[in-house]
């Protein structure tokens, strides 16, 4: 792969129309940086989005882009990838876009393991339509559409993705540039579908939703970095650790006391038992790759079949059109 474009070359001349201070700016910068590192020519990227603040993303990426319909980006991206497996196809979506109207499409894309990379900007709110509750809004939250508080329980995007059989699932945070870039690069290299949940601050309608993670103290106390082959330790100097509790769940342990008990993260485990547990964890908040296993990507399977069929083809169009039972009228 030759020299790729620079980060700057990924920017368009469109005015960026997010609110000042929106977490989307940082994500945009990270995506541009990460794309530049991939060494893939600019014209090979396609960014597909639904509708939402986050879904304005394609307009700001100097690549091919398609701003589609609310919740429907996965289908469009699937069609693109099946037609052009050589392209690097990215979906940008919001928590409402991906998990309300688009939940079915998202989970099916993951189930199919079609080689698209999905960036789910989770700000736990509907930004574009001015602040209504989203499927990830906390129970009890008051919003313009739920003045009495949200009565539902929120979805956990990572848990759903794992249950759908996703082969790559990760989580990062808008402001954690280096980490986010790493996740993006990892997703880019994965075969098949990849989902990154990106915790994103909407400073207008849900400011501080992830303060416990992004605040200075929070970063130290509440973030659990998932690193393959490394123990699940967090807190100041890794002073806290997670272990299995013997009843199928997780328990916090003191690594100093019981270093052997601390679970070692295995993103490649064939089953998703531990990732499932981590996906349901509220504190600490795991960041990093929950799961990265290999399985054939849909577009490859279909391409190979088509090529095999081509090779095995025993007649041209004329034979096909005539079929086995034609007759000739002189």
């Amino acid at each position: 792969m030759g020299r790729g474009p620079t980060r700057k070359e990924f920017a368009t001349d469109q005015d960026v129309r997010w609110c000042p201070g929106c977490g989307d700016y940082a994500i945009l910068a990270s995506v541009q940086t990460a794309f530049a590192k991939l060494g893939v020519p600019r014209e090979k990227f396609v960014v597909v989005s639904g509708i939402g603040c986050s879904s304005r993303f394609p307009y700001y990426m100097n690549t091919y882009g398609f701003h589609t319909l609310h919740g429907r980006a996965p289908g469009v991206a699937t069609g693109i990838k099946l037609t052009r497996p050589d392209l690097s196809v990215w979906v940008v979506t919001g928590d409402g876009d991906a998990l309300a109207i688009g939940a079915g499409h998202l989970l099916h894309a993951l189930r199919r393991n079609v080689g698209i990379r999905i960036l789910l900007f989770n700000n736990r709110i509907y930004g574009l339509t001015k602040g209504q509750a989203s499927p990830t809004s906390e129970t009890g939250k008051t919003t313009p559409s739920t003045p009495g508080g949200v009565a539902d329980r929120p979805f956990r995007p990572v848990a759903l993705a794992l249950a759908a059989g996703a082969t790559f699932v990760a989580r990062s945070v808008d402001r954690f540039g280096a980490h986010l870039q790493e996740m993006i690069e990892r997703a880019a290299r994965h075969e098949g579908a990849a989902l990154i949940e990106i915790l994103q601050n909407c400073n207008i309608f849900n400011d501080g939703a992830f303060a416990e993670v992004t605040g200075r103290a929070g970063r130290e106390e509440n973030v659990l970095y998932l690193e393959h082959g490394r123990p699940l330790r967090f807190g100041p100097d890794g002073s806290r650790g997670l272990a299995l509790d013997g009843a199928g769940g997780l328990v916090e342990v003191d690594p100093g006391q019981a270093p052997g008990r601390v679970l070692v993260h295995d993103e490649r485990a064939p089953d998703s038992a531990v990732p499932d547990l981590l996906a349901r964890l509220d504190a600490p908040v795991p960041l990093g790759v929950f799961r990265d296993v290999s399985a054939p990507a849909l577009e490859q399977v279909l391409r190979e079949r088509r090529e095999a069929a081509r090779r095995a083809r025993d007649g041209g169009l004329a034979e096909l059109l005539a079929g086995p039972n034609a007759w000739t009228v002189p």
Binding site: I80, L82, R306, T328
Partner: protein, 624 residues
């Protein structure tokens, strides 16, 4: 009562003699559709013209022997042109009492009934069909020429030592009947024998059993002499060339392969199963070798989304569905209009509204196809006229989609999807050129929505093309592709999108009569699958001396040029359609034409007689 084997003095087809309508009917489990299809295949091979009407009654397999469980297959064939499957049958083959009861009303008086008498020996079967006494014995069939044949028992006997279980033997009855029919109408057995061989390649025992049942039926006909001699219907005089039997959904699958092969485009058929469209997906999924990929999506919205993605990626996206599915795709069609991407959407209409009569045929999705989107979102709408015409219409739809960068809706119908007719296989040179015009030279790029002066199409640029990175989407854009909320720009773009579609008419043949001539007393206008019935009715009325003309629309939007003028030359215009007057509303609304409507909404095709009656009532007088 007539006993089996009693020879009849006359042939089974009284009038004319060179045109027969047969209906085979039995339980859904009896393999009726298969027997019908094979008979049609052999008939086509014998060079007759034909039209068929399969009729699966309900969406769920009803319990054996009940009225809702009856499956039927009708075929009309002749030495001359055949345009419809026939109003009424000349010959009815009934596999069980329920089939007799359901289908008898559609047999012409004096028609021939061949009944599987084995099924009438059993009380329960009669009761399930609602017969209190045995109709073979109670005289209720007087007025028909009834031939009880113990199809069940004879098949069992023929397969006595086949080693198959009772249930499997039972399922060979249809081949016995097919053999009998083959003898009656002098159809050769070879094509069917070849078919059996191919089909049961992996099950030599079943192949053998079906072969035996088939020949047993044939020999029974010869031996028992139901009729004096087999009825030979000489081949129709048709154009020279290679011919085949083809149903509408198979025709669509072949069109997609043709498209991919001729254009060099990757064609993606992304669909969600729905009756009566599913078989297009099934058949196309076997055509990978020709460059068509199929994708069964999680729903209709995912399907059209994937198809549109394929077109954005520089391939051609196609999606097939039926009414409920088209209703779901409306939002995406709006996006396709806005982003001006090629897309072919095929709606095999069925009986509606809602789930309606899913296995029946209707033409009531026209206005939805035209208007079922928010905002001003015009797109071309086409409709095939016959099963084989589905092939040509889909090619035409793709041509328009690619030339004008627009989604196109094709409105087929259950009747065309499942019905079959002889189809002259086109040679390479008869297939249209399909040249997708994709832009790849950045020097020649002026703006995402800077239009071709001739077609008003915007340039099509596939991702992967260096230097032409661009972004499209559902928000209104200016010529250069930038999001724009400017009122004047919006008005300009709305007008430009409309003009682009209107201009397609420049490229279409002007309105022309099908039958008759300007100045006749009445013009009958139709569209889609009613072509056969309308043409037959108009020809018959003309033959009876009435001055009636007909015109059939393939292009519903834009309408062909000259239509208003041409129609204006008739004192009366009758729009005949299987809905409540949708085309009539369109012709009045768009062209200000003063038209009358003849509409039926019965889930079945037009009956030629009802059309003739209406024409005669309008034109009056009449001779012959």
């Amino acid at each position: 009562m007539i006993t089996p084997g009693e020879p009849l003095a006359s042939r089974p087809v009284p009038e004319g003699g060179s045109r027969v309508t047969i209906r085979i009917a039995g339980d859904s489990g009896d393999g009726i559709q298969l027997a019908g299809g094979r008979f049609a295949g052999a008939t086509a091979l014998a060079g007759n013209d034909l039209a068929t009407l399969p009729d699966f009654p309900a969406e769920i397999r009803a319990p054996a022997g009940t009225l809702p469980g009856v499956s039927g297959y009708q075929i009309q064939f002749a030495s001359t042109e055949v345009l419809t499957p026939g109003d009424r049958a000349d010959v009815l083959v009934a596999f069980n009492p329920a089939a007799l009861r359901v289908n008898l009303p559609d047999l012409r008086p004096g028609g021939v009934v061949i009944v599987n008498s084995t099924a009438f020996e059993d009380e329960t079967g009669l009761r399930k069909a609602g017969y209190e006494t045995n109709p073979l014995e109670d005289g209720s069939l007087d007025g028909y020429r009834v031939h009880p044949v113990a199809i069940g028992r004879l098949t069992r006997e023929a397969l006595a030592d086949s080693g198959l279980g009772a249930r499997q033997v039972e399922r060979c009855k249809n081949f016995f009947a097919l053999g009998l029919l083959s003898w009656m109408f002098a159809r050769p057995l070879e094509p069917t024998l070849r078919w059996i061989e191919r089909r049961f390649r992996d099950r030599p025992d079943l192949a053998e059993a079906n072969r035996r049942a088939l020949t047993a039926g044939y020999h029974f006909g010869d031996t028992a002499r139901l009729f004096e001699t087999p009825l030979e219907i000489p081949p129709a005089e048709v154009a020279a060339g290679v011919w085949r039997a083809l149903d509408g959904n198979e025709a669509i699958a072949l069109a997609l392969a043709t498209l991919a092969e001729r254009s060099g485009l990757d064609v993606l058929l992304a669909s969600y199963p729905i009756t009566p469209a599913s078989t297009v997906l099934h058949r196309t999924s076997r055509l990978e070798a020709f460059g068509v990929t199929t994708f069964q999506a999680e729903d209709e919205i995912g399907a059209v989304g994937a198809a549109l993605g394929a077109s954005f990626a520089g391939g051609l996206g196609v999606t097939t569905t039926s009414g409920p599915g088209l209703a779901l795709k409306g939002e995406f069609l709006g996006l396709a209009v806005m982003t001006e991407l090629p897309l072919v959407v095929i709606d095999i209409q069925r009986g509606g509204p809602s789930t309606g009569l899913p296995t029946r045929t209707e033409q009531a999705d026209l206005l939805m196809a035209l208007f079922g989107r928010h905002g001003e979102a015009p797109l071309p709408v086409l409709a095939p006229r016959s099963p084989g015409d589905c092939f040509w219409t889909v090619l035409e739809a793709a041509r328009i989609a690619l030339r004008s960068m627009t989604p196109v809706v094709v409105l087929s119908e259950g009747y065309l999807a499942n019905g079959s007719e002889p189809f002259r296989v086109p040679g390479e040179d008869e297939l249209p050129e399909i040249r997708p015009r994709r832009l790849s030279d950045p020097q020649r790029f002026e703006g995402t929505y800077v239009r071709d002066p001739e077609t008003l199409a915007r340039p099509w640029i596939a991702p992967g093309t260096p230097g032409l990175e661009h972004r499209i989407g559902g928000l209104e854009k200016d010529e250069l592709g930038r999001v724009s909320y400017d009122p004047d720009n919006h008005e300009r773009m709305v007008a430009a999108r409309a003009a682009k579609i209107a201009r397609i008419a420049d490229d279409l043949p002007p309105a022309a009569l099908e039958e008759g001539e300007p100045g006749d007393d009445l013009l009958v206008i139709g569209w889609g699958g009613t072509w056969g019935a309308i043409t037959e009715a108009v020809r018959a009325e003309r033959a009876a001396g009435r001055r009636v003309a007909s015109l059939h629309l393939r292009h519903l939007n834009p309408l062909p040029r000259g239509l208003a003028e041409l129609a204006g030359r008739f004192p009366r215009v009758l729009v005949a359609e299987r809905n409540c007057g949708q085309l009539a509303l369109l012709l009045r609304g768009r062209l200000g034409l003063d038209v009358e409507s003849f509409t039926r909404v019965r889930g079945i095709p037009f009956v030629v007689a009802e059309l003739r009656e209406r024409i005669a009532a309008i034109v009056g007088g009449g001779v012959s």
